[in-house]
């Protein structure tokens, strides 16, 4: 998963509004919480797993049409990972999304309480 394709290394991380955030609500009854109309921006919450450092800024607002590769390269820069280091992203604490999957699709299917929770780890966590 160390490979990256689309949307590599955007040079202006300041565009991503990052804020301090509390622990998001527990993942229950996702369907009722989801807004039915498609959103143009989606809020991501990052959760560190294993020995991976916790981010100071855990919330990120990202355009719905962006791909997971964009989030992955953002996190890699933020965590100052070298090309040789791996970064694994997980949705639902269960699976790694494909790097060309859109944020919109993941939010539609796995969003909770209006946010998409993303777990990240520098070592493999959930198979």
């Amino acid at each position: 998963m160390a490979t990256e394709t689309e949307d590599t290394a955007p040079t202006k991380p300041a565009e991503n509004k990052c804020e301090e955030a509390d622990e998001p609500g527990s993942p229950t009854d996702k369907e009722k919480q989801l807004s039915r109309k498609s959103k143009s921006n989606i809020t991501l919450f990052f959760h560190a797993t294993g020995n991976t450092p916790i981010l100071k800024k855990r919330k990120m607002i990202v355009e719905a049409t962006r791909k997971i590769a964009y989030v992955s390269s953002f996190l890699r820069r933020y965590l100052r990972l070298t090309a040789a280091e791996s970064l694994f992203l997980y949705i639902n604490q269960a699976f790694s999304p494909s790097l060309d999957q859109t944020i919109e699709n993941l939010f539609e299917c796995f969003g909770t309480d209006g946010v998409l929770n993303v777990h990240y780890s520098t070592s493999q966590a959930w198979g």
Binding site: M1, T3, T5, E6, T8, K30, E31, L34, T65, K67, I91, N92, A94, F95, S96, P97, S98, L99, D100, Q101, T102, N105, E108, C109, F110, G127
Partner: protein, 269 residues
């Protein structure tokens, strides 16, 4: 659970004749190498079948490129190795004459379009992740989580070695609905429109609120609420009738990754 076994078997046996040719610009011999023909399973992935293709062409390209990653294009469109072969054909070449002619490249890897695929392990990890995602939609991931590692291996080896019984002896557990009143929580599907762009994936239940089975027509209406034109939906090279129930489709017409991969072509008739 999947009961119409003949359907499963027929889809599993679906194959496509492919003619591989080396990109002219990369030929370093005086003569262009001969084309390489293969019958490939629709349900498989190109990196699982292209070892022989690489071996055939590698001696005709410049030695500097021998370690490069191979990739394919059809009519100038780079083909994503992580899409099943049958999906790629339905998406880009549905009305093409067979054999399906693909161009083999070793140079100029299209970094912005394709993911890298260094080995079969990369394909395996992509495949298993997609299976887990599908199970998260169907059973909240409970079936994959309770399986043993050797079951996971069997799914992968069954696909890799084209062994129907090996694959389905485990996959039937993922298609099981006996503990959930005969239905999945949601139907894992991806919809592709031929005009490039990413696929569409949403939460869709197999039954309506008053317990009526949803049909393919209902799915299309949920995804494209504003279209009134007729659409033609293709999967496994078959034009689907819009009155097929979603639950049956999911159990019988999903690819081995447990997703329905549906291609939309606008109806010209």
């Amino acid at each position: 659970m999947a009961t119409d076994r003949e359907v499963l078997r027929d889809l599993w046996d679906g194959k496509l004749p492919v003619c591989f040719v080396l990109n002219d610009e990369e030929v370093c011999d005086l003569q262009t190498p001969e084309a390489f023909y293969l019958m490939v399973p629709r349900l498989s992935y190109f990196p699982l079948v292209w070892d022989k293709v690489r071996k055939h062409f590698i001696k005709h390209v410049h030695a500097d490129h021998h370690d490069m990653e191979m990739w394919l294009d059809y009519n100038g469109t780079p083909l994503k190795w992580h899409y099943p072969i049958g999906l790629l054909f339905d998406l880009y070449a549905y009305d093409t004459q067979l054999p399906w002619t693909l161009t083999v490249h070793f140079e100029k890897f299209p970094e912005n379009i394709l993911l890298h695929c260094g080995s079969r392990e990369v394909v395996e990890s992509h495949f298993m992740s997609t299976l887990k995602e599908a199970d998260a939609l169907k059973h909240k991931g409970q079936v994959m989580n309770t399986m043993q590692k050797r079951d996971h291996n069997q799914l992968w080896l069954g696909l890799q070695n084209d062994k129907f019984d090996q694959f389905w002896s485990v996959n039937k557990k993922l298609m099981d609905t006996s503990s959930t009143d005969g239905e999945f929580k949601h139907i894992p599907f991806r919809i592709y429109c031929s005009d490039e762009g990413p696929f569409i994936q949403k939460l869709v239940k197999p039954f309506t609120e008053d317990s009526q089975p949803k049909l393919l027509q209902n799915l299309i209406e949920e995804i494209f609420p504003d279209t009134c034109k007729q659409v033609c939906v293709i999967t496994h090279g078959i034009e689907l009738s819009l009155d097929v129930p979603l639950q049956w489709m999911s159990e019988h017409m999903s690819y081995p990754d447990n997703f329905l991969h549906l291609c939309i072509v606008s109806n010209t008739s």
